[in-house]
Symmetry: C2
Subunit: 391 residues, 2 copies
Amino acid sequence: MSEYIDHDPNGTTVGQVEKQFFTFAGTDDPFVLESGASLGSVTLAYETCGTLNPDRSNAILVLHALSGDSHVAGYYRADDAKPGWWDIMVGPGKGIDTDKYFVICANILGSCMGSTGPASVNPATGKPYGTDFPLITIGDMVRAQKILVDHLGIDKLLAVVGGSIGGMQMLEWCVRYPDSVASAVALATTCRHSALAIAFNEVARQSIMADPNWRGGHYYDGPRPGMGLAIARMIGHITYLSDESMRLKFGRRLQNKSALSFEFGADFQVESYLQYQGNKFIERFDANSFLYITKAADYFDLAREHGNGSLVKAFSKCRARFLVVSYTSDWLYPTYQSKEMVTAMKKTNLDVSFCEIEAQWGHDAFLLPNDKLDHLMAGFLRSVAHASAAV
Amino acid sequence: MSEYIDHDPNGTTVGQVEKQFFTFAGTDDPFVLESGASLGSVTLAYETCGTLNPDRSNAILVLHALSGDSHVAGYYRADDAKPGWWDIMVGPGKGIDTDKYFVICANILGSCMGSTGPASVNPATGKPYGTDFPLITIGDMVRAQKILVDHLGIDKLLAVVGGSIGGMQMLEWCVRYPDSVASAVALATTCRHSALAIAFNEVARQSIMADPNWRGGHYYDGPRPGMGLAIARMIGHITYLSDESMRLKFGRRLQNKSALSFEFGADFQVESYLQYQGNKFIERFDANSFLYITKAADYFDLAREHGNGSLVKAFSKCRARFLVVSYTSDWLYPTYQSKEMVTAMKKTNLDVSFCEIEAQWGHDAFLLPNDKLDHLMAGFLRSVAHASAAV
């Protein structure tokens, strides 16, 4: 997701939140992954906002995308410069209303924001895993989340909500745990990556692995592969925007308005923007986590994994009500991919609402302020809650 | 341009061709560039096919794109594995019929295929220029080509034909030398790069400059920045294709059909294809030339340079007849950019024909076999030649 989103500093927020940690599995009881490998200990960082009602029926699980974390809304400290990454959506009176719902958000397995990932210490060696960390899948992420949700004593989630790679997790939740999900919201997501999406991810991974500081993934005792990760992030950022949004945001405006530099610096504002985003990203994100999470996203294929190649068959296991939202200018996960999803859902007689939102901002649109999405989200959740008498 | 184009080995070709060299400028008479810097000696590699008629009125200048060269058609030797890069278009009875026309193609200034560029020896030091080579512009490339065309004794070109960055040169020719161009064909090109196109180029350049072997551009006495250049090429290749063409060509097909590898190798065919293209490219192309040519393309802005910001004003200097062709799935230089060009041309009462060709293959389409383009090209040239009584 992008960094440049302006949050409304005067908006109502959930206030102070705290990052919590839940650890499970052990040497005798490892967490076995889809690859066949296993992890001796798994920690998930998570945060909650709102209040769980007495019958534990108002919980909403929010699933973050590639570079997100558990900090979905609110502030850790009063002097934080920014609230959580989806503060525009999650809070009192917002699209996901924390006056009504209990919101859970966990950092995904494989990430570097508190949950177990390649930068974590391998209990077997006492050193960071690096690329000894086994490859994980969206299914593995979701199975870990299910253990957390069980630990929190929640049998059935009122809703599972996710955009982009978070949307893949949402789909996996609905198919894998049909009895545990009353409803689900898919934003700007897909049942499987196109060749184009895989291609962008692969070039980004190559750029990290080409950085001499990457050293086969075992770099934690030395300099980080920052240049490779910065380039990977720049590639990502291009795919999150759109031709139109870049034209509106940057056009051909120069950094130095007086003239072209005739040097290999950043002449155009769009160049400077990408360099800034790349450099900012390496301060907070781990290059190996980028490799693991993008690979998990590329591997994800709901039809192959759960329907023997048929999306209809995969969805036939679901019982959730769905809201599916795509954005007109999203060329990473274009509307036609959401429509394929919706068509398959309808063929299995699932209750699904679909909306394509007119937006210039490309894939990033799902994270930007949008009244239409707020209303859709609030209305959908209200209807689901009413049906299940949760609120 | 892509490498995977299949040429028809049984097609008629121009037969044997020879790479020639033309050198101009000198210490006392340098070639002064738009940046203000100058080159003490400039060599252009060029090839010709067909026969120049007695009144020198049947010459067509073909302008190549980023990674092209002077070898537009035919073979150097009988055992060459492949003919020139546009052999499907240039030859006896083809779209650009060498039985009728005399075709010239020169490697662009700044390239590494025989013409002066950053890998050339700097006469002042006796060593390769590296990044001491001055930044060049599309205008500089075209001014060098004009000196070559003058040298060949041709006052007026029957046509100037170019696709992609070759199309930019074509536009520059028409505006800069209106008396020397009877007609012009623009394929899959633009009057200026969008922010999106600049963004892709900048990330590709960053990837080269991040390679430790790049060493500030002075690497000719050591290992080449191959990994950086390979990644730059992979990024380019993604932009030459389209979502649809990648789906048709690769989809999610695996390299090893039996299973996912659960390793960071190339699982998907699209990954393997990109890696192959990247690795093949570094055998033949110079990383610094990639930097210089992409920067020249990003700088190109016909309206700014020749119309004080107005495209109409820029085209008001032209007298050529135009054929403008775009491709439906080209998202690097989309049809709307060709339409802007055509609209401005029409406003200055230029004679322009425009055709958007339905094609799945993205930007690459202009280099792929296409009967429609062959017919358009042949018909347009025939009409122009008839009007000027050249053939």
